[in-house]
Amino acid sequence: MRLAEDPAYTRLPGSRRALMGDVQYWLARDHLLLVEVVGMVEKYRRFDLQELVALTVRPTRQRLWQMLVLGLLAGAILAFGVFLIFLSPTDETRLIGEVCLGLPVILLGAMGGVLWVGPSCELRLTTSVQTLVLPGLNRRKGAEKFRAALLRAVQPMVAASSPAAPTRVEVPGDPPTAA
C-alpha cells in the first residue's frame, strides 16, 4: 500500500522531488518515516518520536553561492555577447552575439527563482543515538513548515516528558497562548 493511501501516515511538508532522488517525510502516530530514493533504491528510515532529542536549524551560504555562480555566468555570457556584437567583423558572429545576449535572461530568471525560494539552511535531527542532516530541507521556508508540523505531533510528548524540557514549544504559525 502506498503511504498516501495509508490512513496511519500523514505527509509532512519539505519533500523534494527530483528525477532520481525523491525525498518524502511521513508522520505516523509514533514515528517519523523518511523515504529517500537513492539511485534506483527506495530507502526507509524510521525515527521513534519518543527518541527525538532536538531539531537544529543552521543558516547556510548555499543561496549566496548559487546567486554568485549564476551572476558570474550571466555576466560572462553577456560580456562575450557584447564583444561579438561590437567587435566581430562578420554577420554570423554578430548573430551568435545576439543569442548570447538572450541567455543571461534565462540565468536571471534562475536567480529570481533562487531568491524566491528563500534563504538556505541546514536542518539537523538529533536522536538518542545519531545526528542526521535531513535531506531535501535546505530552504528556510520548507524547514520551518516541517519543524512546525513535527512539533505539533510531538507536543503532547514534550509536555509529558522530563521537567527539564520546556512545558510548551513555540510552534511557528500557532496563535500565542495566554500565560
Binding site: M40, E42, Y44, V53, T127, L151, A165, V169
Partner: protein, 196 residues
Amino acid sequence: MSASALTCPRCHESLAPLTAAELAALTNCPRCRQVLEITLLPAYGRAPTVGQVGSNRTADDDPACFFHASKRAEVPCDQCGRFLCALCQLVVAGQNLCPTCLASGAGGPRGAWEKERFRWDLLAWFLVLGPPLSLCLWFLSPLTSLVALGIGVWKLNSPPSRIHRSRRRLVVAVLAAVVLLLAAGGLITFLATNRS
C-alpha cells in the same frame, strides 16, 4: 547521552553544559558564534532506553532460550515459536520476534522494519530511455528494451514503491519497450527490404 549528543554543527562543540532553557533561547554557538536555532524534543534530557541482557537459568526445569542455553526464556517468538530470553526478544510493531525472524522479515506487517526496496520501474525506464537519449548508444536500444520487457514481466508482482505508483510505471515502461522493439523490428525489415 541524549543531551550530550547535541553539538554545534559547525565547530562540533558539545552543547551539553547548557540547560534546557538556555538551549531553547540559544541564538549562537557559544564557541564559534554560528547562528543556531535549537528546538528541544521529547527525548531531550532523558537517558536512552537500555536493552536487557536476560537472566540466567536457576533451575533445570526453567525454560531455556533457543539462542542462549544458559539464559532463562521469557517469551516465545510470535512467528516461529522459539523460546527467547530478554536479550533475544525483539519487540517490533507490537510483536515479539527472534533475531532470525526479524532478519528474514517473516510475518508481521510488511514495511514495519523494511529498510529498502529496489525500484524495478526506474531500472526499466532507464533501460528503455537510456540508450536512445544517450545518442551514442542508440544502437543498443533493441537489446535494452528486450531486457526492460523481461524485467517488467518478471518483477510486475514485486513489492511496489511506497511513495510512487511504481507498478503502473512498470507497465508503461513495458509498453514503451514493446513499441521500441516493434519500431526497431520495422526499421530493420525496411532496411533489409530496400537493400534487396
